[in-house]
């Protein structure tokens, strides 16, 4: 029997751009300004990773604050350089562990965090004036978490101007999907956006080195949308937020340097590099031309990256190590500021310590052994990459124009247009795997390997949920109730009062008085007569 000639399935990029057989000077004749210069195609610093390596920032969080604290310390001990703390889905929806609908999810997808005590336990022994943190939580819940963090700094005697980090603080993109249902079920949608702005304002004024919002392109991309959609959606959303802050009377140069992104690095290496380069250019041009920013810091697009999990498989899980390495390489070649390399056990559970270590090591090997970080923008000038960068930039502008004409991203989102696009994309992606248009090795091509996972898989500590539920109940029983009541009453009253009241101060006072995440959110919900599912 004669084998057919082995061919790659097709030559399209992940977003559908047809790669040419080869590229030459007829494809790209442009010239580039050096890294660190407008429009920053080649990176935001001239010396890029020589000046500062990207931050190794693995997301972590599970179970109790104490368990998560151990994992964070472990990660720091093996060379992680930033913290990426993820709270559980109950906390992300403003619920405490003892709430009936929350009980089955306590501590599963992140750390269960209800109280100020929890925050202190999570960061126990960690020098928050020396290591930066990303706090993964959206408004209004982000205000409670940020308040807990700031109060912790205060208690430790660390001035707020020495804190560096990022609060996600985007009401739309943080949930997976992002579906309308998930964003509208647990809090009034418009109020959550408003409170997000409140927090941005507060941070602009009080915490000068803290990033006020993180535009989460990653969670959108993980549904199956393509590189162009990821870029255009997130840039359009950022434009909405910029407009919102301008309307609140801030000068663009006061806040633009403190808007950061959280992007995806997918498997299509050159396209991802081109996307990241194009996004830097789109941002620089948008800020300069449209929003008239003058400070060069306003024009530099900074992004954290998480490597895509969608292409990772449950079958032959060790293959995922290779996938994550390619994606990490794409992020590095794309000149990003921090990276989370997704674990090979992603299709089974949260990462084990072993898997977390491998993620950090992957980045260290790329940084220290591969030499790819020695020069800025090593692919710059490649006919292929430059022509892709130009083409993707053009497509991003086109899609942004469509969104702008529909009233901006937030409006498109509320009208369901975004969700329609996301649904189309997720079905298309799944179908493409089914009909072999996208090849997934070991799944739809070269199958028949070892199906069973022979890797170690993370397990939660026995009884973790019950302990957390008990803790919250006990905490509420034991504290001094009077100040809590007063502070919550104040939050309730001021929420009712409405629009021009910045809610961060009152929420911080409630945290200080000992109120829990849900109690604070419930006070605001009550003020709007907002019901949540039980």
């Amino acid at each position: 029997m004669r084998e057919e000639i082995e061919r790659i399935t097709n030559y399209r990029s992940q977003s559908g751009i047809e790669y040419k057989e080869y590229y030459d000077s007829s494809d790209w004749k442009g010239s580039l300004s050096p890294p660190g210069e407008y429009p920053y195609t080649r990176g935001i610093h001239r010396d890029m990773y020589r000046g500062r390596l990207w931050t190794r920032r693995q997301q972590s969080g599970f179970g109790t604050p104490k368990e998560s604290n151990r994992r964070i310390k472990y990660l720091l001990s093996i060379g992680q350089t930033g913290i990426n703390m993820d709270v559980d889905v109950a906390t992300k929806t403003g619920l405490d562990a003892d709430y009936p609908l929350a009980q089955g999810d306590v501590g599963l997808q992140g750390t269960s965090m209800s109280t100020y005590e929890d925050m202190k336990e999570l960061y126990d022994g960690i020098p928050i004036d020396k290591v930066s943190s990303t706090l993964i939580i959206q408004p209004p819940y982000s205000v409670v978490t940020m308040a807990q963090y700031l109060l912790m700094a205060e208690e430790r005697g660390i001035p707020w101007d020495r804190l560096t980090g990022t609060i996600m603080n985007c009401a739309i993109t943080q949930y997976v999907g992002p579906t309308l249902q998930s964003n509208m079920t647990f809090f009034p949608f418009d109020l959550s956006i408003k409170i997000g702005y409140d927090l941005m304002e507060y941070l602009i004024e009080q915490v000068p080195r803290w990033n006020i919002i993180n535009i989460n392109a990653y969670n959108m991309r993980e549904t199956g949308i393509d590189a162009v959609q990821e870029a255009a959606f997130s840039m359009s959303l950022a434009a909405d937020y910029i407009k919102g802050l301008l309307e609140r009377g801030y000068d663009v140069d006061r806040f633009a340097p403190r808007i950061a992104f959280f992007s995806c690095a997918h498997m299509d290496l050159f396209e991802e590099v081109a996307k990241l380069r194009a996004m830097r250019r789109v941002w620089a041009r948008m800020l300069k031309e449209r929003f008239k920013a003058k400070n060069s810091k306003s024009l530099t697009w900074r992004t954290a990256v998480q490597t895509a999990a969608l292409p990772l498989t449950a079958r032959e899980p060790l293959n995922n190590i290779v996938r994550a390495t390619i994606e990490t390489l794409a992020a590095v070649l794309g000149g990003v500021q921090s990276i989370h390399t997704t674990g090979y056990d992603e299709a089974y559970s949260l990462p084990t310590e072993e898997s977390h270590r491998l993620s950090v090591r992957t980045q260290q090997i790329i940084a220290y052994e591969s030499k790819v970080a020695n020069s800025a923008d090593p692919l710059g000038g490649s006919y292929l990459v430059e022509s892709l960068t130009d083409e993707i930039e053009e497509k991003i502008w086109e899609l942004m124009k469509v969104i702008e004409e529909k009233g901006g991203f937030i409006n498109c989102y509320k009208e369901g247009w975004v969700e329609d696009k996301i649904n189309e994309a997720r079905y298309r992606y799944a179908e493409a795997i089914e009909n072999n248009d996208i090849t997934v090795v070991g799944v739809n091509r070269f199958e028949g390997g070892d199906e069973e996972a022979t890797i170690n898989i993370f397990r939660h500590e026995e009884d973790m949920q019950r302990k957390r539920i008990e803790y919250v109940k006990e905490y509420k029983r034991k504290r001094n109730q009077e100040p809590v009541k007063r502070a919550l009453e104040n939050v309730y009253r001021l929420t009712r009062k409405g629009a021009d009241m910045n809610m961060v101060g009152p929420i911080m006072e409630a945290v200080r008085a000992g109120a829990t995440m849900q109690e604070i959110c419930d006070a605001m919900r009550r003020a709007c007569n907002f019901q949540i599912p039980k």
Partner: protein, 131 residues
């Protein structure tokens, strides 16, 4: 005699909002001719069972990404036993480690699908389960 279209209630339970998988499955099942009732996010077990009973569904399909599968599958099965509900098959899909696949089956879940399960396999196994 025309055979009645098989009916499946699909739902996410608890707070896990990861709905990529279940939405794709919903579409595949509908394309295949099933009647699908998608109950959306944030259901409690009682609600899912109520819908299944009311609609005379042939099966309940639940999807989990964050690790809540044992907690909720057990509650669904227990409630069905308590209420003497028979004939509704229980299907679970999602990010589920191998040792929990076994545990789910011991609990009484009829089928479990994990990431990377192919469309054809899923449809065949559901068809044979409901035949």
């Amino acid at each position: 005699m025309v055979e009645r279209r098989k009916k499946i209630v699909l739902a996410k339970l608890g707070l896990d909002g990861h709905d990529n998988g279940i939405r794709i499955i919903a579409k595949w099942l509908m394309d295949e001719g099933y009647e699908v009732i998608y109950a959306g996010l944030y259901n409690k077990p009682e609600r899912v069972i109520d819908i299944a009973v009311e609609e005379s569904a042939d099966a309940i399909g639940m999807s989990f990404q964050g690790g809540g599968h044992l907690y909720y599958a057990k509650r669904i099965i227990d409630l069905m036993k308590k209420r003497n509900i028979e004939g509704i098959k229980v299907i679970v899909g999602g990010v589920i480690p191998p040792f929990d696949v076994e545990e789910l089956k011991r609990t009484g879940v009829h089928e479990v699908f994990t990431p990377g399960a192919r469309k054809q396999v899923i449809l065949e196994r559901i068809a044979s389960l409901l035949s």
